[in-house]
């Protein structure tokens, strides 16, 4: 028992003090400091992080409730204007809401009622069927989360192999596993293809990044699609969905149609505050082929089309995509 007590005392001497704290200032300082050193888009988003700190520090007071503190810290985090910047507690999650930067441009019910009917196929994460007298394949992917297996992709590519074109609908696709993006892209290339570059934070300065790493797609050893593909996007196309849009710019057979994406091209990290809340924010940048980070603010479509909600029987974006094959 004496040894236990003695050695436990040694631990107290050797290690840093316990930093667990619900103090508002302690938690603001910690979150601000972590972001200051590791967030990857200060310059592009022109965020004066010191000014943000001062503005939010002024809102703190010692007796504030957890809910009030969350409002302040969440607001500070949201000042990054990045839906990969989230503060997570057991009662709330902060978010920026890039999807609300543009109008709503998608309603699945219109697709089902007016275009593909209710007997569409569900293959893994894909919902799909033929359009336009089976000359066009329509493939809806609402998320890159979950499993997207080679079998799923084989079936979809095979089913529409003889069509004149494919419509890949990524509207309101909030992202998911990056690996699934590369799996899907591998079905649209015939040789190793450079699609973008990526950098990662390597130091505490706002511009401390690694050298740009090239990102290549290898063709999949399985059914691939060689005809024209129209990729539909909107402001709800975010994270991996946005990365798919960015990479599409490098593939001549793919065309982007709809609205600008919501961005979210940086890969987020994960961490914890002294009060137990968790957070995440972007720590990498995805760059275009000319090594620009600008598409973090949204990947622009090649053809801009918006929905007209005065007529709820028509999906103008889908109609425009179908016309692209005529």
């Amino acid at each position: 028992m004496v040894c236990l007590a003695l050695l436990s005392s040694c631990e107290k001497i050797l290690f840093e003090n316990d930093l667990a704290s619900t103090d508002p200032q302690v938690n603001l300082d910690y979150l601000w400091h972590e972001c200051n050193e590791k967030y990857s888009y200060f310059e592009l988003k022109q965020v004066d992080w010191e000014q943000v700190r001062q503005a939010h520090q002024a809102m703190l007071y010692p007796e504030m409730s957890q809910d009030s503190l969350f409002t302040v810290l969440g607001s500070m985090h949201t000042a990054l204007r990045d839906d990969h910047a989230n503060l997570i507690s057991n009662f709330n999650i902060s978010f920026f809401g890039t999807e609300y930067l543009g109008q709503d441009n998608f309603d699945w019910r219109i697709i089902v009622d007016e275009y593909i009917g209710q007997d569409y196929y569900i293959t893994g994460p894909f919902r799909h069927d033929f359009l336009a007298n089976e000359t066009i394949g329509y493939v809806r992917l609402n998320s890159f989360r979950g499993e997207m297996s080679a079998d799923h992709l084989d079936f979809v590519m095979d089913r529409y192999a003889d069509t004149e074109g494919l419509i890949l609908d990524l509207r309101e696709n909030g992202g998911g596993a990056i690996a699934n993006v590369f799996s899907l892209l591998s079905r649209f290339v015939e040789q190793q293809t450079l699609v973008n570059y990526s950098v990662i934070k390597t130091g505490p300065g706002h511009n401390d990044f690694s050298e740009p790493e090239p990102v290549y797609i290898q063709p999949q050893n399985g059914p691939r699609y060689g005809n024209k593909v129209v990729v539909l996007t909107d402001r709800g196309t975010f994270s991996s969905g946005s990365l798919m849009a960015l990479a599409s710019k490098a593939l001549p057979q793919l065309m982007l149609m709809g609205d600008t994406t919501g961005g979210g091209l940086g890969m987020p990290n994960g961490g914890q505050l002294p009060n137990g809340w968790t957070y995440r924010f972007s720590v990498t940048q995805a760059l275009t082929l000319d090594k620009s980070p600008d598409y973090e603010n949204g990947v622009p479509p090649d053809v801009l089309v918006q929905m007209d909600w005065n007529n709820r029987n028509v999906d103008e974006i889908l109609d425009r995509a179908i016309q692209a094959f005529n």
Binding site: E16, N90, I200, Q272
Partner: protein, 269 residues
């Protein structure tokens, strides 16, 4: 290339105890014809441990993981050589401010020790040995709440200076105490943002951002053992070990463990 080099460093670090053991001088180095008693040891126990990884969280995670180990030891009053492979596994958690988060931890540790009799401090009942020990620890943690930082793999390797005193209590009972002081500490850890760059670059290199730091942080451990020898030369050992280390630097990883073990020692000659 950098990632491959990093990976090889990590593998080499893990293999050092085995490589040294493989190159250990053979029986010809022993002065006497008679070989040292040799034991195969199997141990099991429970640990009370705390860790904190500043790369991802300022909070301490505590748990009582299970400890198992397999070892081989040659020992007599002049010299002790031993090698041990241990595995510790369990759940660590922190529930500060009513936010419970858990980390599944798996730890693999290699130990290789060589100790030599120190006559000047020894008596007829007290045997003191000094020497060194090399320990390599692979620490794997999974905490889903940390999202893309949910997986932490840290490889630490330490060369210790060691001193061990064994007190003969009665005919077949002994008490021993070992103190190890880390002399050279090395850590192989993920880079500045503690997340790899392989996912967004469509590569399969888990260690691509890993960095090796030498002469960083510190490590101490102690071991207290009570050993009961049987007539058939096998033995039963009850032990308590304490191990504490930090990797140093701003994002340091610190661990303290109290391990209580029961070990069966099977005499091999």
């Amino acid at each position: 290339m950098k990632a491959i080099q990093g990976y090889l460093w990590g593998v080499l670090f893990m293999m050092i105890p085995w490589l040294v053991q493989a190159q250990q001088p053979g029986d010809s180095i022993n002065n006497k014809a008679q070989k040292r008693p040799a034991y195969l040891s199997t141990a099991a126990g429970l640990s009370s441990s705390v860790f904190r990884d500043f790369a991802t969280s300022p909070l301490r995670y505590a748990g009582t993981p299970v400890f198992v180990a397999l070892g081989h030891m040659d020992v007599d009053h002049r010299r002790q050589s031993g090698i041990e492979l241990s595995y510790t596994f369990g759940k660590f958690s922190n529930d500060f401010n009513n936010h419970e988060n858990a980390s599944k931890v798996n730890i693999i540790m290699f130990n290789y020790a060589e100790l030599f009799h120190l006559k000047s401090l020894s008596t007829s009942r007290l045997n003191v040995k000094v020497g060194g020990q090399w320990t390599t620890t692979v620490n794997l943690r999974e905490n889903a709440a940390l999202q893309n930082n949910s997986t932490g793999v840290d490889i630490l390797s330490t060369l210790f200076g060691s001193i061990k005193g064994t007190l003969k209590i009665q005919d077949r009972q002994s008490l021993s105490a070992t103190f190890n002081l880390g002399l050279i500490n090395g850590a192989y850890r993920n880079g500045f943002v503690y997340v790899g760059h392989s996912a967004p670059t469509n590569q399969d290199q888990f260690f691509d951002q890993y960095q090796f730091r030498a002469f960083t942080g510190y490590r101490f451990n102690t071991q207290l053992d009570y050993t009961l020898y049987f007539e058939n030369k096998n033995a039963l050992r009850f032990g308590y070990g304490w191990d504490a280390f930090t990797t140093g630097s701003d994002d340091q990883f610190e661990v303290a463990s109290h391990v209580f073990t029961v070990t069966l020692l099977f005499n091999l000659r």
